[in-house]
Structure formats: structure tokens, C-alpha cells
């Protein structure tokens, strides 16, 4: 059967799809196919204990460290705060990073910054907030990024969000974490190499290619505005995975304009709302993928946000490959999420 002749309607029991950026393959097992509704989280006793016990509702009273950034509402109350993590994975702040060896091995001191970004509302997830609130969160990302990227020891800044126990969140109060670290994270290295190779072979950015194709095809586009599209990627690693990608080529998140901040805030809010409604407030991780801040050029890269709902526990296959055996087609997931408003 000639290349290209297959489509979704073919009787393939399972299919492999290649990630255009990294070259990795993902698996979609149709023999195990599930309806979108079957991924809904079951009702559980609320883990949102009262605001009076919450360490993030009253940071000044619960031993949090001094704010590094704070936003206020019109009524003078705070709306967003950023402060160092009380139990940091990276702490010592220094311009120099001590290296060490042990026989054939290399080690490095964990110099860096680990901050928490807390929005005011204890109850409302990002999908339930206003666009204005989420756009302010994006502004905090950019502001902290611009400050930390200047530090000499910082080579990469990771911004992540964990929501729900099954996504590893230790606090129910919505928050993000920022890690400014002296090495480039392995997942990003793969994407940097992948986009570089793609550019060399195709004289085009892999993400721009993706954006153009998805805007033409529409079947995996869940939401779009002037600056961003939200898609279920062709090679989704997990059910209902969503990527938010700037429409125009942009290697560096921190160069986002004010207008784009609003549009990015809207895209996050819509994506999170659709997952919240469609999957009944599932556990979620998201992380910003952007160029390193190590002084080199990464003009071939294209920043974006990856959102991973945690609808199943990763087993050996997933731990070994980083790929879920997904039981729903990305196109079907997109159809389902598009309807959630």
C-alpha cells in the first residue's frame, strides 16, 4: 500500500505517530479505545481544605519568605505574590557554580532559584479565573524571567504548574513554580536539537510548520485567538494533551508583548477551562518550553506551553519511553474539547 494512502478510517488496530520536533514515536492503541467521557475524573472528597489553614492564602502568617514580586488589586488587596519556595530544590544564590568529580562522574552544586507564584483565589483554578487574572499571571512569569535571566549562573528557567494530587501538587491553592537552574533541562535539549535538525533539513521552523498545517486542517485546533493556537498535538504523548503555540515565530518567551500577554492569558484560561469542564477538574501539569538564557542564540526554536492532564498512572511502558499508550485519538480529543465552553 503506497505511502500517504492511509487515513483515520483505516482498520489499523493501533498506530504510531512521530513527533515532528524530537523524532520520538508515540502509540495510539485503538483496540483499547475509550470514549472521551470515560477519562472524566471520578468525584472525590474535596481536598481544598479551608482558606484559614492554607499556607498560600496568608503567606505572611505561615512562615513564607519575603515576596520577590507582588501585584495589587484596585481595592489595595494583593492579587498575586511571588516568593522563594520554603523547601527549595535549588537555593544557594551565587554567580559561580562549583563543579566536582568522583572518578568518571561529574557533579555540580545546585545553585539557583526556586520560587512560588501564587494567585489570590484559593478556590478558583486557572480555568475558572478571568482572562485578566491569568494575563497577570503571565505578566508575573515575564517579570521574574527578565530579572532571573540576568544572573550569571542561570542557564535555564522552568515555569511549571501542578494541579491536583495526581499531578504531584502538595497545596490545593492554585500556584506555579519557577526553577532557575545552571543546566538546560534534558527535555528542552531534545527539542532544541530537534528543531535545529528540522530547520537544517526543511529550511523552516518545525513549530511554524505545525502551526500552519493545523490552522489549515482545523481538526486538532481547540481554540485560537490573534496570537496563539491551542491544539491537541498530532503525536500526543498522553490523552487530551494540549499545546499552546504562538502563531508567529518566537524563540524567546520573555520577549512577549503586552498584547500577547493578554492573548496568552486567554489561551491558558480557555484550555484549562475546557479540560476542567470536559474531564471534571482533572489533575494537570503544565510547563513553559522556551529557549535557554545561557547567552547563546536559539533562533530556530519556538517557545510554547505544554499541558498534560494526568488521566492515568504512568506504568513501566510510559516510564521507559515517556509515552502513554494513548487510548483516544488527538482528533477526537480536540472535537470533544472544542465543545466544552
Amino acid at each position: 500500500m503506497p505511502l500517504s494512502s492511509q487515513n483515520q478510517d483505516s482498520p489499523m488496530i493501533s498506530e504510531l505517530r512521530q513527533d515532528i520536533v524530537t523524532g520520538d514515536w508515540v502509540v495510539i492503541a485503538k483496540a483499547r479505545a475509550q470514549k472521551p467521557e470515560s477519562f472524566k475524573k471520578e468525584e472525590e472528597a474535596s481536598s481544598k481544605f479551608s482558606t484559614s489553614e492554607c499556607v498560600f492564602c496568608h503567606p505572611e502568617e505561615t512562615g513564607q519568605k519575603k515576596d520577590t514580586l507582588i501585584y495589587y488589586r484596585d481595592d489595595g488587596e494583593w492579587s498575586l505574590r511571588v516568593f522563594p519556595n520554603k523547601f527549595p530544590a535549588f537555593e544557594r544564590q551565587s554567580n559561580t557554580v562549583r563543579h566536582w568529580t568522583e572518578g568518571p562522574y561529574f557533579g555540580m552544586e545546585g545553585v539557583g532559584y526556586h520560587e512560588v507564584i501564587v494567585t489570590r483565589s484559593h478556590q478558583r483554578t486557572y480555568g475558572e479565573m478571568t482572562v485578566e487574572e491569568v494575563a497577570e499571571l503571565v505578566d508575573a512569569f515575564r517579570t521574574r524571567y527578565l530579572d532571573l535571566m540576568k544572573r550569571k549562573s542561570v542557564k535555564y528557567i522552568m515555569i511549571i504548574h501542578n494541579h491536583g494530587k495526581n499531578a504531584g501538587a502538595s497545596q490545593p491553592h492554585p500556584h506555579c513554580q519557577l526553577f532557575a537552574i545552571p543546566v538546560i533541562s534534558p527535555g528542552i535539549e531534545l527539542e532544541l536539537k530537534g528543531t535545529e535538525n528540522y530547520y537544517k533539513s526543511n529550511k523552516e521552523c518545525a513549530f511554524c510548520t505545525m502551526v500552519n498545517w493545523e490552522l489549515k486542517e482545523k481538526k486538532r485546533v481547540v481554540f485560537e485567538n490573534d496570537s496563539f493556537i491551542v491544539i491537541t498535538p498530532f503525536a500526543s504523548r498522553s490523552a487530551f494533551e494540549l499545546w499552546i503555540i504562538p502563531k508567529k515565530h518566537s524563540p524567546y518567551f520573555e520577549r512577549i508583548t503586552q498584547r500577547e500577554e493578554w492573548d496568552f492569558g486567554e489561551a491558558i484560561q480557555k484550555a484549562m477551562k475546557k479540560l476542567f469542564l470536559g474531564l471534571n477538574d482533572p489533575a494537570i501539569n503544565f510547563y513553559l518550553h522556551t529557549s535557554p538564557c545561557d547567552g547563546r542564540d536559539y533562533d530556530h526554536y519556538h517557545w510554547h506551553l505544554e499541558i498534560l492532564p494526568r488521566t492515568s498512572i504512568w506504568a513501566g511502558f510510559e516510564m521507559a519511553t515517556g509515552v502513554e499508550v494513548s487510548t483516544i485519538l488527538p482528533e477526537e480529543a480536540a472535537r470533544f474539547l472544542k465543545k466544552q465552553n
Copy 2:
């Protein structure tokens, strides 16, 4: 401070360690340090429902497919069975793999094999079995491997074990799964490239270097016999991670001798027993890392087994990097596990 002058006793709050094979960095957060005992799994209601309800205790009565391999005990009862997975991720068996494209994307039919390897005992985990029983399991790995590697569409054979709900096991009865697939798994690709680069730079296998260093240093060796060592790797990705590595350079698992099968069985049994005793029957994934069977030479590679206890839920940082922020030093984990017998 000069390179090499740091050691474990230095006051580093957290440290980064580089994986000698892939070059990836892992994090050990000492500020969050925990005692080994604190990783112990809490008691929970037994999920080992009775053997009369178990789909693997009586495969012939519970709609399992026909055995592809069966071992018998001296009394004529079966001791180990291999049969196709009832809900396969890969199923259609064919010598040709259909490819397809959609615009800039590539896809491939999920041709392959997905088998279940079931040992007889419902109650006893691999750590509680005899060496003889685990060595028989290893023999089943090899036998199925040798059969499946001959199939034209099979490029890689993954053998994995999921134990416990938090490791994604759907059945409490001890079992392994085998996936024979038409692509090389992404995690293995990284190791193949890493060992190739290491060999080019150092004229030595990265795993042989590791084995020699660990045998000399001893501080991360948890168990050894004539053919294998069990270590907590220098750059452990998660707390209490264990690797079982052949002492002599061996790229291809399937060339294991009968004597080595026994020794490998003993190493698996000991490693699993130590985790069982030390961490109170934790959820565990293990997977065999071996060379692809795509007809090429991988003489620079060195097969091994990676055992990952699932003592915490992976959050955004882990999902983004594939690395746990580990709160115990591999050397301390080794000291603790060495004592468990």
C-alpha cells in the same frame, strides 16, 4: 574552588549529577533530605484479591489467549506461562509495516506483539520467590526474545514489570509484559547515542567504566555475584533506583548464558527483596534495556535492567525533565538497602 575538591561532606544544599550515559542532569535536594525509612509505603488494604477471581491464576478459564510458551514443575503443574495480552497495545502481526503521512507528519501502523509473562504464585512478589523461580522468568524472557527478534517488522523488544497500583499495574498477580515493536523506544535511542559518544571520546564503554568504578568504590553497590552488580546509580533519577548490570561487556541480552541466567535471576530476586523489605512492598517498575534487534550492530552498548521504585508522584518538574527531585543520596540509599536481607 578547584574542580574535584568537593565531596559529599561539603555544605551543598542541593547538587546536580550528570548521567554518564545520556549526559542528562539529575537533582538531589539535600535541604529536603529525608531518612530512608520515611520512603516506606504506608500500610493499605490489600489489593491482592483472592486467587479464584484472578485472571492470571486460571488463564484458561478467564478468556486469555492461547499460550505461546509454558513451563512445568516436577509435579506436572504449570509454573510459568506466556500468552498474548487480552487488551494489546500492538497486535497485528505482519512482516510489512504500513506507513502514512498527513501533511508534514509521519505515522506508522502499530504492528507488533504484546505478551504477558505470568509466574504461578499469586501472592509472592519476585523478591519473595526462590532464585530458581526468577531464573526461570529470565529464561522465558530470553526464549520469547529469541523467537520474536526474528520477525521482520520487530525492531525493538521491551520487557517490563509493573508492580502495585502506583506503578500502573492493573493486576496484583506478579507478571511481566513484553512489547515487540517496529521502532526503537526514545529512552533507548538516547542511551545508544550516549554510549556511542562516550566510546568515541573515551575508547571505553560507559557502563564498563561505571561497573569498574563501582566495584572499586563499593559505596553504591547493593549486591553482587559472579556475573552482575546491583547499584544505586551515581545520577539516580529517583529515590532508591537500582540498576542491575552485567560485569562483563555485553551489548545483547539474548546472548545470556545459562549460568548468567541464574545469576541474573539471583540479582533480580535480591534487588526486589531489598526494596520489598526496606520500603514495605513499594510500587515498582522495572525494564530491560538492551540493544535493538533491527539487524544493526550495537557493540558499544551494554544491556542492563533498571528498577524504579515509585515512592512519590511525579509532578511538573519530573514530567518536564524525566528527573525526580530526589531527597536521598544514592550512597545513603545503597547503605540502607545493603542491610535489608
